[in-house]
Protein backbone atom coordinates (compact mmCIF):
# COMPACT_ATOMS: atom_id res chain seq x y z
CA UNK A 1 0.00 0.00 0.00
CA UNK A 2 1.57 3.32 -1.04
CA UNK A 3 2.38 5.79 1.60
CA UNK A 4 -0.20 8.56 1.58
CA UNK A 5 2.46 11.06 2.48
CA UNK A 6 4.45 10.44 -0.69
CA UNK A 7 1.43 10.47 -3.08
CA UNK A 8 -0.94 13.22 -4.07
CA UNK A 9 -4.05 13.56 -1.96
CA UNK A 10 -7.27 14.55 -3.85
CA UNK A 11 -10.12 16.35 -2.34
CA UNK A 12 -13.50 14.75 -3.15
CA UNK A 13 -14.53 17.56 -5.37
CA UNK A 14 -11.20 17.64 -7.19
CA UNK A 15 -11.31 13.94 -7.89
CA UNK A 16 -14.90 14.18 -8.95
CA UNK A 17 -14.03 16.99 -11.30
CA UNK A 18 -11.16 14.92 -12.73
CA UNK A 19 -13.51 12.01 -13.32
CA UNK A 20 -16.07 14.32 -14.84
CA UNK A 21 -13.54 15.75 -17.27
CA UNK A 22 -12.30 12.30 -18.13
CA UNK A 23 -15.79 10.95 -18.81
CA UNK A 24 -17.17 13.89 -20.63
CA UNK A 25 -14.11 14.27 -22.86
CA UNK A 26 -13.98 10.60 -23.66
CA UNK A 27 -17.72 10.27 -24.44
CA UNK A 28 -18.90 13.65 -25.75
CA UNK A 29 -21.75 12.00 -27.72
CA UNK A 30 -22.69 8.36 -27.90
CA UNK A 31 -25.34 6.35 -29.69
CA UNK A 32 -26.79 3.91 -27.24
CA UNK A 33 -29.58 1.39 -27.23
CA UNK A 34 -31.38 -0.14 -24.30
CA UNK A 35 -34.65 -0.61 -22.51
CA UNK A 36 -36.34 2.05 -20.46
CA UNK A 37 -37.25 1.31 -16.85
CA UNK A 38 -37.87 3.21 -13.63
CA UNK A 39 -39.21 6.14 -15.51
CA UNK A 40 -40.34 9.24 -13.71
CA UNK A 41 -41.93 12.35 -15.15
CA UNK A 42 -41.98 15.09 -12.50
CA UNK A 43 -43.82 18.38 -12.89
CA UNK A 44 -40.67 19.99 -14.32
CA UNK A 45 -41.46 18.27 -17.61
CA UNK A 46 -38.08 16.52 -17.74
CA UNK A 47 -38.08 12.77 -18.05
CA UNK A 48 -35.88 10.67 -15.79
CA UNK A 49 -35.35 6.97 -16.30
CA UNK A 50 -32.93 4.08 -16.21
CA UNK A 51 -31.65 2.54 -19.40
CA UNK A 52 -30.77 -1.10 -19.06
CA UNK A 53 -29.89 -4.23 -20.89
CA UNK A 54 -29.68 -7.70 -19.43
CA UNK A 55 -26.42 -7.00 -17.61
CA UNK A 56 -26.17 -3.33 -16.75
CA UNK A 57 -28.08 -0.18 -16.02
CA UNK A 58 -27.31 3.49 -16.44
CA UNK A 59 -29.44 6.49 -15.47
CA UNK A 60 -30.66 8.83 -18.12
CA UNK A 61 -32.59 12.01 -18.54
CA UNK A 62 -34.31 13.77 -21.40
CA UNK A 63 -34.99 17.41 -20.77
CA UNK A 64 -38.27 19.04 -21.56
CA UNK A 65 -37.05 20.81 -24.70
CA UNK A 66 -35.77 17.65 -26.36
CA UNK A 67 -38.69 15.55 -25.13
CA UNK A 68 -41.08 17.86 -26.94
CA UNK A 69 -39.77 16.67 -30.32
CA UNK A 70 -40.48 12.98 -29.68
CA UNK A 71 -43.19 11.44 -31.83
CA UNK A 72 -43.85 8.58 -29.42
CA UNK A 73 -44.49 8.13 -25.71
CA UNK A 74 -41.70 7.09 -23.41
CA UNK A 75 -42.70 4.24 -21.14
CA UNK A 76 -41.25 1.39 -19.14
CA UNK A 77 -40.20 -1.60 -21.22
CA UNK A 78 -39.76 0.42 -24.41
CA UNK A 79 -36.59 -0.37 -26.28
CA UNK A 80 -35.03 2.74 -27.61
CA UNK A 81 -31.98 3.94 -29.46
CA UNK A 82 -30.75 7.42 -28.83
CA UNK A 83 -28.02 9.99 -29.04
CA UNK A 84 -26.75 11.17 -25.64
CA UNK A 85 -23.82 12.81 -23.96
CA UNK A 86 -22.44 11.42 -20.74
CA UNK A 87 -22.52 13.81 -17.82
CA UNK A 88 -21.44 13.61 -14.22
CA UNK A 89 -23.46 15.43 -11.60
CA UNK A 90 -20.93 16.48 -9.01
CA UNK A 91 -23.14 17.14 -5.94
CA UNK A 92 -24.38 13.55 -6.07
CA UNK A 93 -21.37 11.90 -7.57
CA UNK A 94 -23.37 10.02 -10.12
CA UNK A 95 -23.27 10.07 -13.89
CA UNK A 96 -26.12 9.96 -16.31
CA UNK A 97 -26.89 10.09 -20.02
CA UNK A 98 -28.46 13.31 -21.22
CA UNK A 99 -30.44 12.38 -24.33
CA UNK A 100 -30.69 14.74 -27.26
CA UNK A 101 -32.63 12.42 -29.55
CA UNK A 102 -34.41 9.12 -29.16
CA UNK A 103 -36.43 6.75 -31.33
CA UNK A 104 -38.08 3.42 -30.67
CA UNK A 105 -35.70 0.67 -31.67
CA UNK A 106 -36.85 -1.05 -34.81
CA UNK A 107 -38.70 2.00 -36.07
CA UNK A 108 -35.52 3.31 -37.54
CA UNK A 109 -34.84 0.15 -39.46
CA UNK A 110 -38.46 -0.13 -40.65
CA UNK A 111 -38.37 3.46 -41.77
CA UNK A 112 -35.13 2.81 -43.59
CA UNK A 113 -36.56 -0.26 -45.30
CA UNK A 114 -39.61 1.80 -46.26
CA UNK A 115 -37.47 4.52 -47.83
CA UNK A 116 -35.33 1.98 -49.67
CA UNK A 117 -38.33 0.15 -51.09
CA UNK A 118 -40.01 3.40 -52.01
CA UNK A 119 -36.90 4.51 -53.88
CA UNK A 120 -36.48 1.17 -55.63
CA UNK A 121 -40.09 0.93 -56.83
CA UNK A 122 -40.13 4.63 -57.64
CA UNK A 123 -37.03 4.22 -59.81
CA UNK A 124 -38.77 1.34 -61.57
CA UNK A 125 -41.63 3.66 -62.43
CA UNK A 126 -44.32 1.95 -60.33
CA UNK A 127 -45.50 5.29 -58.98
CA UNK A 128 -45.40 7.20 -62.27
CA UNK A 129 -48.43 9.34 -62.99
CA UNK A 130 -48.44 7.92 -66.53
CA UNK A 131 -49.48 4.51 -65.15
CA UNK A 132 -52.34 5.84 -63.04
CA UNK A 133 -55.72 4.68 -64.28
CA UNK A 134 -58.67 7.03 -64.12
CA UNK A 135 -61.34 6.23 -61.55
CA UNK A 136 -64.65 5.52 -63.32
CA UNK A 137 -67.17 8.31 -62.92
CA UNK A 138 -70.01 5.91 -62.30
CA UNK A 139 -68.86 2.45 -61.16
CA UNK A 140 -71.41 -0.34 -61.52
CA UNK A 141 -69.66 -2.53 -58.98
CA UNK A 142 -67.03 -1.75 -56.37
CA UNK A 143 -64.81 -4.37 -54.79
CA UNK A 144 -63.65 -3.61 -51.27
CA UNK A 145 -60.54 -5.45 -50.15
CA UNK A 146 -60.20 -5.05 -46.40
CA UNK A 147 -60.72 -6.81 -43.13
CA UNK A 148 -64.21 -8.32 -43.02
CA UNK A 149 -64.65 -7.33 -39.42
CA UNK A 150 -62.92 -4.00 -38.86
CA UNK A 151 -64.38 -0.53 -38.59
CA UNK A 152 -63.03 0.24 -42.06
CA UNK A 153 -65.48 -2.02 -43.87
CA UNK A 154 -68.40 -0.61 -41.86
CA UNK A 155 -67.31 2.95 -42.62
CA UNK A 156 -67.05 2.18 -46.31
CA UNK A 157 -70.47 0.50 -46.46
CA UNK A 158 -72.05 3.39 -44.54
CA UNK A 159 -70.55 6.07 -46.74
CA UNK A 160 -71.34 4.17 -49.93
CA UNK A 161 -74.97 3.60 -48.93
CA UNK A 162 -75.39 7.19 -47.88
CA UNK A 163 -74.03 8.51 -51.16
CA UNK A 164 -75.68 5.99 -53.43
CA UNK A 165 -78.40 4.00 -51.67
CA UNK A 166 -78.61 1.30 -54.33
CA UNK A 167 -74.88 0.84 -54.82
CA UNK A 168 -73.34 -2.48 -55.65
CA UNK A 169 -70.52 -3.46 -53.28
CA UNK A 170 -68.47 -6.60 -53.10
CA UNK A 171 -66.46 -7.20 -49.95
CA UNK A 172 -63.38 -9.33 -50.33
CA UNK A 173 -62.31 -10.06 -46.76
CA UNK A 174 -58.58 -10.37 -46.07
CA UNK A 175 -56.27 -10.21 -43.08
CA UNK A 176 -54.80 -6.73 -43.05
CA UNK A 177 -51.99 -7.54 -40.64
CA UNK A 178 -50.02 -10.57 -39.65
CA UNK A 179 -47.98 -13.09 -41.57
CA UNK A 180 -50.61 -13.95 -44.17
CA UNK A 181 -51.81 -10.40 -44.86
CA UNK A 182 -49.50 -9.79 -47.86
CA UNK A 183 -50.48 -13.00 -49.60
CA UNK A 184 -54.19 -12.55 -48.92
CA UNK A 185 -54.22 -8.99 -50.24
CA UNK A 186 -52.34 -10.02 -53.39
CA UNK A 187 -54.72 -12.97 -53.94
CA UNK A 188 -57.75 -10.75 -53.45
CA UNK A 189 -56.52 -8.21 -56.02
CA UNK A 190 -55.86 -11.05 -58.47
CA UNK A 191 -59.26 -12.64 -57.80
CA UNK A 192 -61.13 -9.40 -58.47
CA UNK A 193 -59.11 -8.88 -61.65
CA UNK A 194 -59.83 -12.41 -62.83
CA UNK A 195 -63.58 -11.96 -62.41
CA UNK A 196 -63.58 -8.67 -64.33
CA UNK A 197 -66.81 -7.54 -62.70
CA UNK A 198 -65.77 -4.62 -60.58
CA UNK A 199 -65.02 -1.21 -62.08
CA UNK A 200 -62.92 -0.06 -59.16
CA UNK A 201 -61.21 -1.56 -56.12
CA UNK A 202 -60.96 0.01 -52.69
CA UNK A 203 -58.01 -1.31 -50.68
CA UNK A 204 -58.50 -0.21 -47.10
CA UNK A 205 -57.33 -0.58 -43.55
CA UNK A 206 -57.93 1.34 -40.36
CA UNK A 207 -55.15 3.14 -38.54
CA UNK A 208 -52.25 1.33 -36.89
CA UNK A 209 -48.58 1.47 -36.05
CA UNK A 210 -45.97 1.18 -38.75
CA UNK A 211 -45.64 -2.51 -37.86
CA UNK A 212 -49.41 -2.98 -38.29
CA UNK A 213 -49.24 -1.43 -41.74
CA UNK A 214 -46.37 -3.70 -42.81
CA UNK A 215 -48.38 -5.59 -45.44
CA UNK A 216 -49.26 -2.31 -47.14
CA UNK A 217 -45.58 -1.42 -47.20
CA UNK A 218 -44.60 -4.67 -48.87
CA UNK A 219 -43.18 -4.99 -52.34
CA UNK A 220 -45.58 -7.80 -53.25
CA UNK A 221 -48.68 -5.77 -52.54
CA UNK A 222 -47.23 -2.75 -54.35
CA UNK A 223 -46.52 -4.81 -57.48
CA UNK A 224 -49.93 -6.42 -57.31
CA UNK A 225 -51.58 -2.98 -57.15
CA UNK A 226 -49.47 -1.85 -60.09
CA UNK A 227 -50.45 -4.95 -62.10
CA UNK A 228 -54.19 -4.55 -61.47
CA UNK A 229 -56.21 -3.72 -64.59
CA UNK A 230 -58.95 -2.38 -62.38
CA UNK A 231 -58.15 1.02 -60.87
CA UNK A 232 -57.38 0.90 -57.15
CA UNK A 233 -58.13 3.54 -54.53
CA UNK A 234 -56.26 3.08 -51.25
CA UNK A 235 -57.59 4.28 -47.93
CA UNK A 236 -55.05 3.10 -45.42
CA UNK A 237 -54.65 4.25 -41.82
CA UNK A 238 -54.98 7.86 -40.88
CA UNK A 239 -54.47 11.00 -42.88
CA UNK A 240 -50.78 11.20 -41.96
CA UNK A 241 -49.95 7.59 -42.83
CA UNK A 242 -48.36 7.08 -46.21
CA UNK A 243 -47.72 3.51 -47.29
CA UNK A 244 -45.99 2.05 -50.32
CA UNK A 245 -49.43 0.82 -51.41
CA UNK A 246 -50.63 4.44 -51.42
CA UNK A 247 -47.86 5.41 -53.80
CA UNK A 248 -48.60 2.51 -56.13
CA UNK A 249 -52.36 3.05 -56.10
CA UNK A 250 -54.17 4.95 -58.84
CA UNK A 251 -55.61 7.29 -56.23
CA UNK A 252 -54.72 7.60 -52.57
CA UNK A 253 -57.45 8.55 -50.14
CA UNK A 254 -56.46 9.60 -46.63
CA UNK A 255 -58.86 7.20 -44.90
CA UNK A 256 -61.18 4.27 -45.73
CA UNK A 257 -64.19 6.62 -45.56
CA UNK A 258 -62.53 9.05 -47.94
CA UNK A 259 -61.80 6.18 -50.32
CA UNK A 260 -65.51 5.32 -50.36
CA UNK A 261 -66.35 8.96 -51.07
CA UNK A 262 -63.97 8.99 -54.01
CA UNK A 263 -65.30 5.73 -55.43
CA UNK A 264 -69.03 6.23 -54.99
CA UNK A 265 -70.72 9.17 -56.70
CA UNK A 266 -73.39 11.04 -54.79
CA UNK A 267 -76.71 9.99 -56.23
CA UNK A 268 -78.61 13.04 -55.00
CA UNK A 269 -76.17 15.31 -56.73
CA UNK A 270 -76.33 13.32 -59.98
CA UNK A 271 -80.12 13.35 -59.93
CA UNK A 272 -80.07 17.10 -59.34
CA UNK A 273 -77.63 17.57 -62.19
CA UNK A 274 -79.81 15.59 -64.59
CA UNK A 275 -83.00 17.29 -63.42
CA UNK A 276 -81.39 20.70 -63.86
CA UNK A 277 -80.42 19.79 -67.39
CA UNK A 278 -83.92 18.55 -68.14
CA UNK A 279 -85.28 21.89 -66.96
CA UNK A 280 -82.76 23.77 -69.09
CA UNK A 281 -83.64 21.60 -72.05
CA UNK A 282 -87.37 22.29 -71.72
CA UNK A 283 -86.76 25.99 -71.14
CA UNK A 284 -84.61 26.18 -74.25
CA UNK A 285 -87.27 24.35 -76.25
CA UNK A 286 -90.05 26.60 -75.00
CA UNK A 287 -87.97 29.64 -75.80
CA UNK A 288 -87.31 28.30 -79.24
CA UNK A 289 -91.00 27.60 -79.85
CA UNK A 290 -92.01 31.02 -78.54
CA UNK A 291 -89.51 32.60 -80.86
CA UNK A 292 -90.82 30.74 -83.87
CA UNK A 293 -94.41 31.54 -82.91
CA UNK A 294 -93.64 35.22 -82.70
CA UNK A 295 -91.78 35.10 -85.95
CA UNK A 296 -94.71 33.34 -87.56
CA UNK A 297 -97.18 35.88 -86.18
CA UNK A 298 -95.03 38.68 -87.45
CA UNK A 299 -94.75 37.19 -90.92
CA UNK A 300 -98.45 36.40 -90.96
CA UNK A 301 -99.34 39.96 -90.17
CA UNK A 302 -97.09 41.13 -92.93
CA UNK A 303 -98.52 38.67 -95.47
CA UNK A 304 -101.28 40.66 -97.47
CA UNK A 305 -104.33 39.02 -99.05
CA UNK A 306 -105.20 39.87 -102.70
CA UNK A 307 -108.39 41.60 -101.50
CA UNK A 308 -106.29 43.95 -99.45
CA UNK A 309 -104.00 44.56 -102.39
CA UNK A 310 -107.03 45.31 -104.63
CA UNK A 311 -108.50 47.64 -102.05
CA UNK A 312 -105.23 49.47 -101.90
CA UNK A 313 -105.13 49.82 -105.65
CA UNK A 314 -108.75 51.05 -105.70
CA UNK A 315 -107.98 53.63 -103.14
CA UNK A 316 -104.94 54.81 -105.05
CA UNK A 317 -106.98 54.93 -108.19
CA UNK A 318 -109.77 56.95 -106.58
CA UNK A 319 -107.28 59.36 -105.17
CA UNK A 320 -105.62 59.84 -108.57
CA UNK A 321 -109.04 60.31 -110.15
CA UNK A 322 -110.00 62.99 -107.71
CA UNK A 323 -106.75 64.84 -108.17
CA UNK A 324 -107.21 64.67 -111.90
CA UNK A 325 -110.70 66.20 -111.68
CA UNK A 326 -109.44 68.98 -109.47
CA UNK A 327 -106.64 69.69 -111.88
CA UNK A 328 -109.08 69.74 -114.78
CA UNK A 329 -111.41 72.18 -113.03
CA UNK A 330 -108.55 74.43 -112.17
CA UNK A 331 -107.29 74.38 -115.69
CA UNK A 332 -110.77 75.20 -117.07
CA UNK A 333 -111.22 78.06 -114.68
CA UNK A 334 -107.95 79.63 -115.80
CA UNK A 335 -108.89 79.29 -119.47
CA UNK A 336 -112.40 80.71 -118.90
CA UNK A 337 -110.93 83.67 -117.20
CA UNK A 338 -108.64 84.32 -120.11
CA UNK A 339 -111.53 84.06 -122.57
CA UNK A 340 -113.59 86.59 -120.58
CA UNK A 341 -110.68 88.98 -120.52
CA UNK A 342 -110.06 88.55 -124.23
CA UNK A 343 -113.75 89.16 -124.98
CA UNK A 344 -113.64 92.42 -123.05
CA UNK A 345 -110.54 93.51 -124.89
CA UNK A 346 -112.11 92.45 -128.12
CA UNK A 347 -115.23 94.43 -127.36
CA UNK A 348 -113.15 97.49 -126.73
CA UNK A 349 -111.43 97.08 -130.05
CA UNK A 350 -114.67 96.55 -132.08
CA UNK A 351 -114.54 99.02 -135.10
CA UNK A 352 -118.33 99.52 -134.79
CA UNK A 353 -117.81 101.36 -131.54
CA UNK A 354 -115.24 103.63 -133.21
CA UNK A 355 -117.70 104.29 -136.02
CA UNK A 356 -120.34 105.38 -133.53
CA UNK A 357 -117.96 108.10 -132.38
CA UNK A 358 -118.06 109.55 -135.97
CA UNK A 359 -115.04 107.81 -137.46
CA UNK A 360 -115.48 105.96 -140.75
CA UNK A 361 -113.68 103.33 -142.77
CA UNK A 362 -113.07 103.80 -146.47
CA UNK A 363 -112.40 100.88 -148.78
CA UNK A 364 -111.49 100.42 -152.41
CA UNK A 365 -113.98 98.84 -154.76
CA UNK A 366 -114.33 96.18 -155.71
CA UNK A 367 -111.26 94.89 -153.73
CA UNK A 368 -112.60 96.21 -150.44
CA UNK A 369 -109.12 97.11 -149.21
CA UNK A 370 -109.05 99.56 -146.33
CA UNK A 371 -107.50 102.78 -147.55
CA UNK A 372 -104.72 104.12 -145.26
CA UNK A 373 -102.93 106.27 -147.79
CA UNK A 374 -104.20 108.62 -150.54
CA UNK A 375 -101.75 106.94 -152.93
CA UNK A 376 -103.85 103.77 -152.83
CA UNK A 377 -106.52 105.39 -155.03
CA UNK A 378 -106.54 107.46 -158.18
CA UNK A 379 -108.82 109.98 -159.83
CA UNK A 380 -112.37 108.69 -160.53
CA UNK A 381 -111.76 105.37 -158.58
CA UNK A 382 -114.94 104.14 -157.00
CA UNK A 383 -114.64 103.81 -153.18
CA UNK A 384 -117.04 103.14 -150.37
CA UNK A 385 -117.17 104.68 -146.92
CA UNK A 386 -118.58 102.63 -144.08
CA UNK A 387 -120.30 104.73 -141.46
CA UNK A 388 -121.86 103.83 -138.16
CA UNK A 389 -125.17 103.73 -139.94
CA UNK A 390 -125.07 102.82 -143.69
CA UNK A 391 -122.49 103.29 -146.49
CA UNK A 392 -121.70 105.94 -149.01
CA UNK A 393 -120.50 105.09 -152.56
CA UNK A 394 -118.33 107.89 -154.01
CA UNK A 395 -115.76 108.71 -156.74
CA UNK A 396 -112.33 110.23 -156.07
CA UNK A 397 -112.20 113.86 -157.24
CA UNK A 398 -108.68 114.58 -156.10
CA UNK A 399 -105.89 112.93 -154.10
CA UNK A 400 -103.69 114.94 -151.79
CA UNK A 401 -100.49 113.23 -150.64
CA UNK A 402 -98.62 113.88 -147.42
CA UNK A 403 -99.35 113.91 -143.85
CA UNK A 404 -101.52 116.93 -143.61
CA UNK A 405 -104.88 115.28 -143.49
CA UNK A 406 -107.09 117.56 -141.50
Amino acid sequence: MPDHRTTQIYSVSRLTRKIKTLLEDRFPFVWISGEISNCAAPASGHFYFSLKDDQAVISGVMFKNQKRNLKFTLENGLKIMGLARLSLYEPRGNYQLIFEHMEPEGAGSLQKAFEQLKKKLGDEGLFDAAHKQPIPFFPCKISVITSGTGAAVRDIINIAERRFPNCRLEIVPVSVQGDTAQEEIVCAIELVNERRQADVIILARGGGSIEDLAAFNSEKVARSIFASHIPIITGIGHETDFTIADFAADVRAPTPSAAAELAVPEKKQLVRQITDMQVSLSAAMIQKLTYFHQKLDDLHSRLKSPVQIMANFKQTLASHCLRMQHAMHHCMAIKENRVTKAAATLAALNPASVLTRGYSVTRTLPDKKIIFDAKMVAYQDQIETILSQGRILTRVEKTIHGKDHI
Binding site: F164, N166, E170, V172, L191, M277, Q278
Partner: protein
Amino acid sequence: MAKITFEKALKQLEEIVREMESGDLPLEQALKKYETGIEKVKYCMEILDSTEKKITRLTRDIDGSVSEAPF
Protein backbone atom coordinates in the same frame (compact mmCIF):
# COMPACT_ATOMS: atom_id res chain seq x y z
CA MET B 1 -80.13 4.03 -78.46
CA ALA B 2 -77.08 1.83 -78.26
CA LYS B 3 -75.94 1.11 -74.75
CA ILE B 4 -73.48 3.77 -73.68
CA THR B 5 -71.99 4.54 -70.30
CA PHE B 6 -73.75 6.78 -67.86
CA GLU B 7 -70.89 9.26 -68.04
CA LYS B 8 -71.06 9.42 -71.83
CA ALA B 9 -74.82 9.89 -71.79
CA LEU B 10 -74.45 12.68 -69.24
CA LYS B 11 -71.80 14.39 -71.40
CA GLN B 12 -74.05 14.14 -74.47
CA LEU B 13 -76.93 15.58 -72.49
CA GLU B 14 -74.76 18.51 -71.42
CA GLU B 15 -73.74 19.09 -75.02
CA ILE B 16 -77.35 19.05 -76.21
CA VAL B 17 -78.39 21.55 -73.53
CA ARG B 18 -75.50 23.78 -74.50
CA GLU B 19 -76.45 23.66 -78.19
CA MET B 20 -80.11 24.29 -77.46
CA GLU B 21 -79.29 27.27 -75.29
CA SER B 22 -76.75 28.92 -77.51
CA GLY B 23 -77.37 27.87 -81.09
CA ASP B 24 -79.59 29.21 -83.83
CA LEU B 25 -80.85 25.72 -84.46
CA PRO B 26 -83.55 25.32 -87.08
CA LEU B 27 -86.84 24.20 -85.53
CA GLU B 28 -86.70 20.66 -86.89
CA GLN B 29 -83.22 20.16 -85.48
CA ALA B 30 -84.15 21.77 -82.17
CA LEU B 31 -87.09 19.40 -81.83
CA LYS B 32 -84.92 16.42 -82.67
CA LYS B 33 -82.27 17.54 -80.17
CA TYR B 34 -84.92 18.06 -77.52
CA GLU B 35 -86.27 14.56 -78.09
CA THR B 36 -82.78 13.08 -77.89
CA GLY B 37 -82.08 15.13 -74.75
CA ILE B 38 -85.18 13.85 -73.00
CA GLU B 39 -84.21 10.31 -73.99
CA LYS B 40 -80.79 10.84 -72.41
CA VAL B 41 -82.40 12.15 -69.23
CA LYS B 42 -84.55 9.03 -69.02
CA TYR B 43 -81.60 6.82 -69.80
CA CYS B 44 -79.41 8.38 -67.08
CA MET B 45 -82.20 8.24 -64.52
CA GLU B 46 -82.83 4.61 -65.36
CA ILE B 47 -79.19 3.73 -64.80
CA LEU B 48 -79.22 5.55 -61.47
CA ASP B 49 -82.26 3.68 -60.28
CA SER B 50 -81.80 0.32 -61.95
CA THR B 51 -78.71 -0.75 -60.00
CA GLU B 52 -79.83 -3.35 -57.57
CA LYS B 53 -78.62 -2.71 -54.06
CA LYS B 54 -76.42 -5.60 -53.16
CA ILE B 55 -73.53 -6.13 -50.82
CA THR B 56 -71.85 -9.47 -51.30
CA ARG B 57 -68.89 -11.26 -49.87
CA LEU B 58 -66.41 -12.72 -52.31
CA THR B 59 -64.06 -15.47 -51.14
CA ARG B 60 -61.81 -18.07 -52.68
CA ASP B 61 -61.31 -21.30 -50.76
CA ILE B 62 -58.05 -23.15 -50.42
CA ASP B 63 -59.13 -25.51 -53.21
CA GLY B 64 -59.50 -22.48 -55.50
CA SER B 65 -63.30 -22.44 -55.70
CA VAL B 66 -64.80 -18.97 -55.64
CA SER B 67 -67.96 -18.29 -53.65
CA GLU B 68 -70.16 -15.26 -53.46
CA ALA B 69 -72.62 -14.77 -50.60
CA PRO B 70 -74.56 -11.90 -49.08
CA PHE B 71 -72.36 -9.93 -46.71
